[in-house]
């Protein structure tokens, strides 16, 4: 983990110490995040390598930590390995012929990389998959109820859980008896998160919740995520392409490129970092730049390789 208030650019040919922007503002938020993470390693992934189909190397040694009660963003472009990282934690990889070939994944101090997804949900880690994946022919309420499959609870407890989800997602209550396949994208995303909540998780791996949604709905969903984090003490590991929104709602971020973590830091530091701004937010110090003027590849090269 980086020293508080600094950014680390991790690359093999790290000329000149990378791209620190230890600005005045970032020194302000010497958040307790890192220390807390070190004190109680909650979810930690250590040097994980993932190979699909025995040949396709997707993750090339990824390490990251999520502290208890934190929201950590995992950012990167298409194909960087965000989803793969989440699936390697939730053990959904094997269903896609992927395999964790190196490294270890620990949750609350015990290794979880050989468990089945079912075991893992029982232990409190659940994934909300990219693209919602609601059960289209089940009603919203039935969808939510399937989330509680792993819990052996009474009818009243089940009802309470359901009410709690409806409390956070009032819209789902209105649509409770319509088939999930016919609800809107935002409602489906809420349904998917609500379904995960029904399992009473301690940690939710949230894969690309903003996908295909209107900005307003995205904000709404992220607000609820923040709310859940604060009130239900659910930790989140959030894979996102929408860097701007993700950094706004998370407290720590990792940037993944080509199966490697190339940068990590506090969300506020990342959001103000020049490279992040340029590559992920489409902004730069001098405003809009012509692509001709920037020697794009040079800066980028430091990260990659």
């Amino acid at each position: 983990m980086p020293a508080p208030g600094t950014l680390q650019t991790l690359s093999r040919h790290d000329r000149g110490g990378g791209t620190e922007t230890t600005g005045e503002d970032s020194a302000m938020n010497t958040a307790t995040h890192t220390e807390a993470a070190q004190a109680t390693p909650y979810l930690s992934i250590n040097n994980v390598e993932v190979i699909y189909d025995h040949v396709i190397l997707v993750l090339k040694g990824v390490s990251l930590q999520v502290p208890k009660g934190g929201i950590v963003a995992l950012l990167g472009a298409n194909g960087a390995g965000k989803s793969t990282t989440l699936k390697s934690i939730s053990n959904l990889l094997r269903a896609e012929r992927g395999d964790v070939t190196k490294g270890s994944i620990e949750f609350k101090g015990t290794r979880i990389d050989q468990l089945t997804p079912n075991d893992l949900v029982r232990r409190g880690v659940i994934q909300v998959m990219e693209g919602r994946h609601c059960f289209a022919h089940l009603t919203i309420e039935e969808n939510l109820l399937t989330g509680a499959y792993t819990r052996k609870i009474s009818r009243t407890e089940l009802k309470d859980s359901l009410e709690k989800v409806y409390h956070y997602f009032p819209r789902l209550k209105e649509r409770r008896s319509s088939q999930a396949g016919y609800t809107s994208g935002g409602e489906q995303q809420m349904c998917a998160i609500g379904r995960a909540l029904m399992a009473k998780p301690e940690m939710i791996l949230l894969d690309e919740p903003s996908m295909g949604l209107a900005p307003q709905i995205v904000e709404e969903i992220f607000e609820i995520v923040k709310d859940l984090n604060a009130k239900e003490q659910v930790s989140f590991l959030l894979a996102e392409q929408n860097t701007m929104v993700a950094l706004r709602y998370s407290d720590f971020g990792y940037i993944l490129e080509n199966g490697r973590i190339v940068m990590e830091g506090h969300a506020k530091d990342l959001a103000t970092n020049e490279d992040v701004k340029e590559f992920y937010l489409g902004l730069s110090g001098e405003g809009r730049k012509s692509f001709r003027d920037v020697k794009h590849y040079r800066r980028r090269k430091r990260w990659l390789s």
Partner: protein
Amino acid sequence: MTFFFEVLIGGLLSGVLYALVALGFVLIFKASGVFNFAQGAMVFFAALTFVGFTEVLPGWTGLAEGGRAVFWLAFLLALGSMIVLGIATEKVVLRPLVNQPAITLFMATIGLTFLVEGIAQGIWGTSVRGLDLGIQDEPIMWVLDRADMIVSKFDVFAAAVALVLFIVLALLFQYTRVGRALRAVADDHQAALSVGIPLKHIWAIVWGVAGFVALVAGLIWGARNGVQFALTFTALKALPVLILGGFTSVPGAILGGLIIGASEKLAEVYVGPFVGGGIESWFPYILALLFLLVRPEGLFGEKHIDRV
């Protein structure tokens, strides 16, 4: 007019039996996306195992031959065998093929068909046997007196059994935790995995239930036509039913069965004489073919929900 209704009722009742076989297909197809070609062989296996046990049990246990105790004991043993067969199929044949294309799984079940047929005949022999459920295939006198129609007592009994089975399964699917999980798995394997539904358990349950349905179908068909190799062909009769009703719908299987049963009997009686008879054996397939052109997903088949 009486005659028309007599044919219609006879057709509907036999349709229920087609539906019973089709139901086995639907259950497995819905939950695991496998078209289980071996369902007919499973029906045969179930009936043969049941009859085999009724033959050997009196010798083993000293129970009275043909008695109630032997019947239920044989039923339980046959049920146990079917569940074991179903679970073993899932474990040995299908699990190693997870994530393979549908056609691979289909081919595997064709192989399974021969294996199951072989095992059944290897254990119990190949001779044709009678199966007596204690209900005679005779007209119900009450109906004959009042309405002047011949309605088979056995057919009504069989239809009643099938109906009870349908209702129980429907309730199970609709309102229980496992039933919900079954439907969830049918919809989206990956998502089901992600919320912690153990696919393997669910598939084992489905194959077990399909085995149970095969047993009930086997008993009724066996009692009607004798327990013989031809029972495996009941699977072929289920195909047009599935095409009509949709591969993924339990109500569809029932309605499809009723339509096929009624239409083939009516066609035989009213159209048959003009083309030289024997229509009954091929009419369902023509109907299915025409239906495919109009509504490929079947009457109640799951429409692919597409949001536009």
